[in-house]
Symmetry: C2
Subunit: 365 residues, 2 copies
């Protein structure tokens, strides 16, 4: 299997040279601790992992690993716990990615093929799949392109004479907005009939296609008054879509994180909720993750945000830079099942990519 590179997101770090025994001990400590959440001692290690040496030997190896900063000690006479650096080393050099079950992958693909629904349904499904498979909190953001262009406008007449503008962008984003009826009347110089609106919509569809927000704003000024008024609204909608904010975030599996002993105290949960409720943090992550494709692993203090110092993130982008990019991944305590989570995130991102491909037409250019 080809070696996958998962480098530290924040700093590149030369892998320390370890002896074969040290590597075995580090691996055992990480894997045991991930399962048990209890600091692991030398005796338990030889017992559980059938290492053919005495505890004393393990202790000496552990002491070496601690000197290198790969393990720590909650207090003098407790077992060892991996440090962030220890997890990092493990992820880069020690971990054997657990293959996803063939059954699992088939099941997941099947679910996605069943749901031939809206893109939001896909994202919801992606989140719930990630959460269920990794037993951690999952986050999926919609794919957005940074410079959205106008694709299509429709002016809809609802019940009660309410008028709504629905704009579709070239990346497939749909933006809607209610129009102020009074302002419409003013712009039209009298109550706007359906014909007036149809004409305005046709005009805008002809004139604005492929334009960005500022272009649309400029072009709008030269149109008939009603169309010009609507063009203003359209330009605002484009600007907003451009605006950096990821607005909707699909999450699932928060309860899994709640179950983890490290978050039982309640207060440690705060940063997690912040991430999941407000999207600023993901906003910050997006360029980092998209700059280089593939799965990104961010462990504990490697995280730019100090509040997240006990949290690991495993994220991947999906979509294509030319069209639109989104972010998906999982989030949990640093004590996370990396060998399972990393391939899962990778797999779900490729599933979403395939879906996007299969819906972007039968001719590839």
């Amino acid at each position: 299997m080809p070696e996958r590179s998962q480098q530290a997101a924040t700093q590149a770090r030369p892998p320390v040279d370890l002896t074969e025994r040290q590597r075995a001990v580090l691996r055992a400590v990480v894997e045991d601790y991930v399962l048990s959440a209890v600091p692991v001692g030398s005796r338990a290690l030889v017992r559980r992992y059938g290492l053919n040496v005495s505890p004393a030997t393990i202790r000496s190896a552990m002491a070496d690993l601690e000197a290198l900063g790969l393990l720590t000690h909650p207090h003098t006479s407790a077992g060892r716990v991996p440090s962030d650096l220890g997890y990092r080393y493990y992820v880069e050099a020690l971990m054997r990615e657990s293959e996803l079950d063939r059954a699992d992958t088939l099941m997941i693909r099947h679910q996605f093929s069943q749901v031939q629904l809206t893109s939001n349904d896909w994202l919801r499904l992606a989140a719930s799949t990630l959460a269920a498979s990794t037993r951690a909190a999952a986050v999926v953001t919609p794919a957005r392109s940074r410079r959205a262009k106008f694709a299509h406008l429709q002016l809809v007449d609802l019940a009660d004479r309410a008028r709504m503008a629905v704009v579709v962008l070239t990346d497939g984003t749909v933006v809607e907005r209610h129009l102020d009826p009074a302002a419409l009347t003013r712009a039209a110089g009298g109550p706007a009939s359906q014909e007036d609106l149809d004409a305005a919509a046709a005009e805008l569809n002809a004139e604005l296609t492929g334009l960005t927000a500022p272009q649309a704003r400029r072009r709008g000024r030269k149109l008939t008054p009603l169309a010009a008024h609507v063009a203003g609204a359209v330009a605002e909608m484009l600007e907003e879509a451009d605006g950096t904010s990821i607005e909707e975030v699909f999450t699932d599996g928060l309860a899994y994180v709640l179950d983890q002993p490290e978050f039982a105290g309640g207060t440690a949960l705060r940063p997690v909720l912040e991430v999941l409720q407000h999207a600023d943090f993901l906003e910050q992550l997006l360029p980092m993750v998209t700059r280089r494709g593939g799965v990104h692993v961010i462990i504990g203090r490697e995280n730019p945000n100090d509040a997240m110092r006990e949290v690991s993130l495993i994220f991947a982008p999906y979509g294509t830079p030319e069209r639109a990019l989104g972010l998906l991944g999982v989030l949990g305590p640093t004590r996370m099942a990396y060998p399972r989570a990393i391939p899962t995130v990778r797999f779900v991102s490729t599933v979403l990519n395939d879906l996007i491909d299969s819906h972007s037409g039968w001719t590839h250019d």
Copy 2:
């Protein structure tokens, strides 16, 4: 001020007759406990509330209230805590609703008038306003009508030949779906040109307006092959929109709930997350709350779901039954600042109603 009725959602309960002193004591216990989260004793009560009687007198009143089921006792020598019934009595008969600050209401209205954006933005804003004002978790669901009708279809050509159907319903809901390009080609008997699609869209807009899902499905069969194929997709989209599921829920202020001592243990938080992440529970709530308008208060075990036995809900519907109804409210421990939360929920729901009104045209029918 007119008496507002907030009856038990599950069972109507005749108000117990209490003496003036008992009422004063109950009110003081509730208000003190809401502030302090600590069981309140007789001595503390006379001290803090300047009642001109001795602790012993208060004790006797407390004992009466306990016999009536309005107060409880965590253990023999602890202070008193209101029971669910005690809160209920308080909410119905004792509470003085705290007027919202004039400054607050102006500020909130101002925020909403600033944001002349999409309906989702309104809901997001409503959630964050509720959360900030009540310091509890807020939930807002989009307004949906049970029997959505077709208002408008648009077939959009995205980059890469991806085709998307965007359907607007009479209640203003926008539903989108990617179309399977291969299936389109099959239905059109060859690659579908933009003209073909425009023609199909025009046909459907002419034929399907005002139809429900089954009607649209029937009518669709009689159309030209390409239009018929798209009509099938449209009917599915209508069915889904009808389908009971509230999909998106806007929440805010989860962190406030996290701060409450009753949820510090972590495990008690589970039901709250359930409510906020999956919408089944709100689904269940919707008919209950909309059947009779106004603010509904559901306290602790009054809740149909036993997992929520330590949670109070304060919800109101918004929108109009003829068009579309949504739900909004807050959620927190039973020990909640009802006098503040109830008027806040009422106010935000009227603000949303006003917004909807002001956008449904200048002629009312």
